[in-house]
């Protein structure tokens, strides 16, 4: 399996296979039947006047898939929902990205899309919070806001007419992310939800699930203290006093490893599942590092199979 | 080269194949006896070759230095700081670019010096820690070393000579870097080995050292070593490096007084 090449022993291998098989049997047959690969014909009723969406093309009157994925039909629209692929932006998506370059009046960001994204100086709130025209001085001070390699959270604003992707950060919740770690997962594992920022108060941790598959796990920052905090940091020259508290750090690493295990297994990353996995590891006294070992990996697969089976049973019972 | 480099008399270099082999046989015999033997050039184990170093052999460069240790002759030119040629990303610190090359006649067998490809990156690593890169942001300093003749301990001599050339070029440094290597034969350690000695060594150890700061910038070791032996060898090298550092310092002072006059 990708990312984790574990040396499983014989029993672990059998258990893992059983769990994965269970997952397969729990998936509705329709979903698996709708799977297509490149160049598969997608059966459609030609009289329906269908609209060909993402991942399809017309070949001699047939609708043909150009990607591997699952066929989705919404009214007249037929498209292929991809699994493993780079990020496909939609307006309003919350993303996490890394600054690559500072250009005149704009930052360029790597966001796992087919191009770099652009964040204009005019599309973000200045540190003083006042709405005003950007001056030449602001332009010269851009590096003091974000510099190369900074990790930033922002929102997709949309495509400009020249085909470039623009972002915006017009809210206090967006901005630079510090004191934590960035993880990258395939974007299809992150579902678009109402909420992508999660303050896990019980751990004092911020978890941001970027739609582009960049996931931030870091120390919790209170929004209006953000500005002050950076000032504080500059003041205290002694780094050691300023480190993330050990307890919080353990939580961050545990949550990060939960994300790593779940993404290696290809499970959709919801905040609930991440917390559940982290909790499960803590309650069964699995060391943070051992979460990446074979045993916990198999256990996680088994737990997920059981969880989905229960869910299905409840659903059927309710009916 | 200035007149003082010459020794007055000169004798033809005896480097024919037979003689080389004879010398090696002799070395082997000594090793078998495991006694203190005189080295081919008459030194004792812990004697370095006389170091002749001078600044300013090339005028086109920002700084340059020439070093001659026995048969090993090295010339280093430093250019810059000048604008980085490569389209690089924005960088707060300068770049140090090092290149070591051999003349085709540097070794007994023509063109053999080209085997030492890694010397460029080794030189870079030895110097990197001493150069104050932040004093020339967005620019590059080029260090070009040319080995005119290879006579053993090439890399340490290149490193020492390069740091002299950097100082001559007025590049800001935390300290000079000097370097010395030792060879190990059985339980004996000999300092500043010649090519012949290097060809028969059981192991070798090289230290690049900042004498005033007492920090090691580069350390390499081959062959099997026990702990105590490493400590001894490193200390021996550091002591030699400190003394070599004094020589470098004197050369720089000489140059300074000359320019003042």
């Amino acid at each position: 399996m990708r990312d984790l090449h574990l040396s499983l022993n014989q029993t672990q291998r059998v258990r893992l296979e059983a769990a994965l098989h269970e997952l397969q049997s729990l998936t509705p047959a329709a979903a698996s039947a709708a799977a297509v690969t490149v160049a598969d014909t997608i059966p459609v009723n030609q009289e329906d006047n269908i609209l060909k969406g993402h991942g399809t093309s017309d070949q001699d009157g047939e609708v043909v898939a150009t990607l591997c994925g699952v066929v989705e039909r919404v009214n007249k629209l037929v498209y292929v929902r991809t699994l493993r692929a780079r990020y496909k932006p939609e307006v309003g998506d919350i993303i996490v990205g890394r600054v690559i370059e500072i250009a005149p009046k704009r930052w360029r960001l790597e966001i796992n899309f087919s191009q770099d994204a652009v964040l204009m100086l005019s599309s973000m709130n200045l540190p003083d919070g006042i709405q005003r025209r950007r001056t030449a001085v602001d332009e010269l001070n851009m590096r003091s806001i974000f510099e190369e390699n900074d990790v930033i959270c922002a929102e997709v604003r949309g495509f400009q007419h020249d085909g470039s992707l623009h972002l915006q950060a017009r809210s206090e919740k967006y901005g630079k992310l510090e004191r934590g770690q960035l993880l990258t997962v395939p974007p299809y594992l992150v579902k678009r939800k109402k909420q992508h920022f999660h303050h896990l108060a019980q751990y004092d941790v911020d978890l941001i699930l970027g739609c582009n598959g960049f996931i931030w796990v870091g120390e919790h920052v209170v929004v209006d203290e953000k500005v002050k905090a950076t000032e504080d940091q500059q003041k205290s020259s002694d780094e050691a006093e300023n480190f993330t508290p050990l307890e919080t750090r353990k939580h961050i690493c545990r949550l990060a490893n939960a994300v790593r295990v779940l993404s290696a297994l290809g499970f959709t990353l919801t905040v609930e599942l991440i917390i559940e996995t982290a909790e499960a590891s803590a309650s069964s006294n699995v060391e943070v590092n051992d979460m990446l070992g074979a045993e916990f990996y198999v256990q996680t697969a088994e737990r997920e199979a059981k969880r989905r089976a229960d869910l299905l049973r409840k659903k059927n019972g309710a009916r | 080269m200035s007149a003082q480099a010459g020794t007055g008399t000169y004798s033809p270099a005896a480097a024919s194949g037979d003689k080389r082999r004879e010398r090696r046989e002799e070395l082997r015999r000594h090793l078998a006896e495991d006694a203190d033997w005189p080295r081919a050039d008459g030194r004792s184990f812990h004697d370095c070759r006389p170091a002749f170093m001078q600044t300013g052999p090339t005028t086109a460069a920002s700084g340059s230095a020439y070093a001659e240790f026995g048969k090993t002759k090295v010339i280093v030119s430093v250019f810059g700081p000048r604008e980085s040629k490569k389209a690089m990303m924005y960088s707060d610190v300068g770049r140090l670019n090092c290149n070591v090359s051999y003349t085709t006649f540097a070794t007994p067998v023509r063109g053999q010096g080209a085997d030492n490809k890694e010397y460029s990156s080794m030189l870079h690593k030895a110097l990197e820690g001493a150069v104050m890169l932040h004093t020339f942001p967005k620019t590059t300093v080029d260090v070009f070393a040319l080995v005119l003749e290879s006579g053993g301990s090439d890399l340490p001599i290149i490193i020492s000579c390069a740091s002299l050339a950097l100082a001559d070029a007025g590049i800001m440094m935390y300290d000079l870097v000097t370097s010395v290597s030792v060879s190990c034969f059985g339980k004996n350690i000999i300092i500043d080995p010649t090519s012949d000695e290097e060809a028969w060594q059981d192991g070798s150890l090289m230290v690049a050292f900042m004498p005033a700061r007492k920090e090691i910038t580069q350390l390499t070791l081959t062959g099997e070593w026990s702990d105590g032996k490493i400590t001894n060898a490193v200390e021996l090298c550091m002591d030699a490096c400190s003394k070599l550092g004094e020589i470098l310092r004197d050369r720089l002072k000489d140059t300074a007084t000359l320019t003042n006059e």
Partner: protein, 284 residues
């Protein structure tokens, strides 16, 4: 190539200071190691080693050759490393040459011993078939397929495993009376001689971050290093090679301390590698 923001760097440094790294490891803990042998059937011995997301394939090929005149009683071993662009797009074209050369030299330094052959990982005299006439030339190649830091240690491990997988065909030589003539050589297809790999060392790279040392650094952690020391240690705890990496100067006492820490860590790692080799052999 990893670019990290100041915040992330600070977080990594803090984790190392507090002895819990970003993936939860302690400072002297290795990532998961997995080992496979016989991955290149055309070679005399081969291995695939994965250390976290770093993946290496090593191969050993033996060819009959002639010993050099200077060392008539010894075979020859050469080590080369190549970094595939599959691991990192920047390795394309000549992009990996510098790194490959650096890794090759470091491995040669650690595994081949001194010029006289003393302290080598492989006893060169065991490669002799007929003194002065026929010997084995061993070509050891390492290929970096996927890279996430600590390439040198992973390469050395892969080579150690590949050597343990290597069988040299038995050679029968019929010596003709005239010593000038080339001896006739008959290479057996069936009988193989196993290598003695017990003296092959492992390489432990200690990366210094702040005041602390860590083993098995990921590429993110490597971007934080001020300096690193790679020490090759054999089973007896003897040091067989050493390379300092990274530019910053180190106090001599720190280096000696790092050597002793590396030696300590090496014994654990050797045991881990040995158990993985045994498991890989049992799997075949």
């Amino acid at each position: 190539m990893v670019g990290l923001s100041e915040g992330e760097k600070h977080f990594i440094r803090g984790g190392i200071a507090q002895d819990i790294r970003t993936d939860g490891r302690r400072r002297l803990q290795f990532r998961a190691l997995s080992v496979e042998t016989g991955v290149i059937p055309q070679a005399n011995g081969s291995a695939r080693v994965r250390l976290g997301a770093t993946e290496i394939i090593a191969s050993v090929k033996a060819e009959l050759g002639k010993p050099s005149i200077l060392h008539p009683d010894k075979g020859k071993v050469s080590i080369f490393v190549d970094c595939s662009p599959t691991a990192e797009p920047t390795f394309e074209g000549r992009g990996s040459e510098e790194l490959s050369a650096e890794l090759s030299v470091a491995l040669q330094r650690c595994l081949l011993g001194g010029k006289s052959g003393a302290g080598a990982a492989i006893d060169l005299s065991s490669l002799i078939v007929v003194e002065g006439k026929v010997c084995w030339d061993l070509y050891i190649d390492g290929l970096v397929v996927s890279s996430d830091g600590n390439l040198l240690d992973a390469l050395a491990t892969a080579i150690k495993v590949a050597l343990s997988d290597t069988g040299l065909p038995k050679v029968n030589v019929s010596l003709s009376a005239a010593s000038d003539e080339e001896p006739e050589v008959d290479v057996s297809d069936e009988e193989f001689l196993q290598f003695d790999t017990s003296s092959v060392p492992v390489i432990i790279t200690l990366t210094k971050v702040g005041r602390h040392y860590i083993v098995d650094a990921t590429s993110e952690e490597e971007s934080q290093m001020s300096s690193a020391v790679s020490v090759s240690v054999n089973r007896n705890g003897q040091i067989c090679g050493l390379t300092k990496r990274g530019g910053a100067g180190l106090d001599p006492s720190v280096i000696f301390d790092m050597i002793s820490v590396a030696r300590h860590a090496s014994q654990q790692f050797i045991a881990l590698v040995d158990s993985q080799i045994a498991a890989a052999e049992a799997d075949e």
